[in-house]
Symmetry: C2
């Protein structure tokens, strides 16, 4: 059904990007995709109802949080309805026929290039060139006739755009995973499935001594575990912060509801971003 919005999923990059892989894990292999140039475009697509879902990276085990997406989450008010993790493996990909000794420039997303620093140190005749997307760089080098160009991207990107992998796993550190969120515009009733649920919240504390400690006590006193805490500056209050916290539990669980009620007593601002069951 071309043109049908229902079920369409927006993500940053081209097919074969790591966000695309996350979308397949989260929604299955029959997704209708909407590749976007930027994270802003992904959020705009869901907001303008060109897509029903967004899949966005939120955190990488080497790079840290993707702050731009935390900021967009707050601004757009979408619900987090799923989470998954993707192992990041980078390969050097060329047009069929290009030999390793001919490669002079390797295109990729700046974060991917930065994760292959040892490769560029070892092969100093290859220049790292920034591009807007990993998979998009494969698309570009296979479409153009440049004889000296390579791309750094996933195996899926090589398959989709007909590239040849010349060197596998050129990333510096193999413990490289990215965590993705599945977002929807409207909140949905949580399915009554069991398993390890998570609830993501954001709050700002009153500017008093021990405020964050007291906020965390709302969870600790109820034996609720936190899997993540992240601070972001408040845009119009220099040196004050928003806190993004992931709690293990469902938002409709009575203990979590009590903890959130307690937290509301001692915060200036509190929003539940969503409850979700991680997809392995």
């Amino acid at each position: 059904m071309p043109g049908d919005v229902k079920g369409r999923v927006a993500f940053q990059g081209e097919r074969g990007a790591f966000s695309y892989k996350a979308a397949l894990k989260l929604l299955g292999n029959n997704i209708r995709d909407l590749p976007c140039a930027s994270f802003q475009d992904v959020f705009d697509a869901v907001n303008g109802e060109k897509a029903a879902y967004a899949v966005i990276p939120i955190e990488n085990t080497l790079h840290g949080s993707i702050h731009e997406n935390y900021d967009h989450l707050l601004e757009y008010g979408f619900r987090i309805s799923g989470e998954t993790k993707v192992r990041i493996a980078h390969h050097l990909i060329v047009r069929p026929g290009v030999r390793f000794r001919d490669v002079r420039r390797a295109f990729s997303h700046p974060v991917a290039l930065n994760q292959c620093r040892l490769f560029f140190q070892k092969h100093s005749h290859i220049e790292a060139v920034s591009f807007y997307d990993t998979a998009g760089s494969v698309k570009m080098i296979t479409e153009r006739e440049e004889p000296n160009a390579a791309a750094i991207a996933s195996e899926a990107a090589a398959e989709i755009f007909g590239g040849t992998i010349l060197r596998r796993n050129i990333e510096d550190n193999s413990r490289n995973f990215t965590r993705f969120f599945l977002l929807t515009k409207q909140a949905k009733t949580l399915p009554s499935s069991s398993g390890a649920w998570k609830t993501s919240i954001v709050f700002s504390t009153k500017n008093v001594a021990g405020a964050l400690f007291k906020a965390m006590a709302c969870f600790a006193l109820r034996d609720l575990n936190l899997s993540k805490i992240e601070s972001r500056p408040l845009r119009n209050k220099p040196w004050e912060y928003l806190f993004y916290v992931d709690v293990l539990g469902r938002s409709d669980d009575i203990i979590v509801q009590n903890a959130l009620g307690h937290l509301g007593e001692m915060t200036e601002f509190l929003r539940v971003l969503g409850s979700y069951r991680p997809t392995p």
Copy 2:
């Protein structure tokens, strides 16, 4: 004394960069400066004893923490011995004689360009072009003969390199401050001055429930206030974190020492990064 290392201060960018302004505030107007191309070069300069001090940005009120410098702090083990904050104001600067209507490209550091998005939206005939430094972009456009180029940088950069300010305060948000650290290779005896001292620490908790809450209790139970908490991923342990915390107090204060002793009981790793009195 040319070539004398004693007292020389390394910073990223050219004279007139915001780091240079922070260095003047921290060390006075008679500094001998060592401009560096990257943060890595700044840390290497102090490590290789080409400079006695480093001045680095650590946090911006709009952009958030500068994670690369948190990572370098941990790796190099330098001591934080001072802190100051600089108001960030961006101006559009050209070679004398260039008129606003002639400007087609504006060069600056990507973070500065990103902080002037409304300016570029309003003046869509001007293209934003990334450069390694704000002040360095003024140096470049005043040295070259390009008739359509401008730079975005500080007033000091315009003065130092003989540029003309065409538009003042083109930043989107005026509540834009950057916090800088003064670093030295070796720890020094703290001067016995009074005032509001801060101590910066970094630790990782054991991977058990409520570990961060218990770590924060070491301070809260002693009425010690925290002014900042920041998490960073541990490179070789996916989904575990380091925490950077700023405590109000001196590291040789008995209450702070007791809190740090208590914290040491329940952390896997703990390091004091330095105690310092903020320079207004």
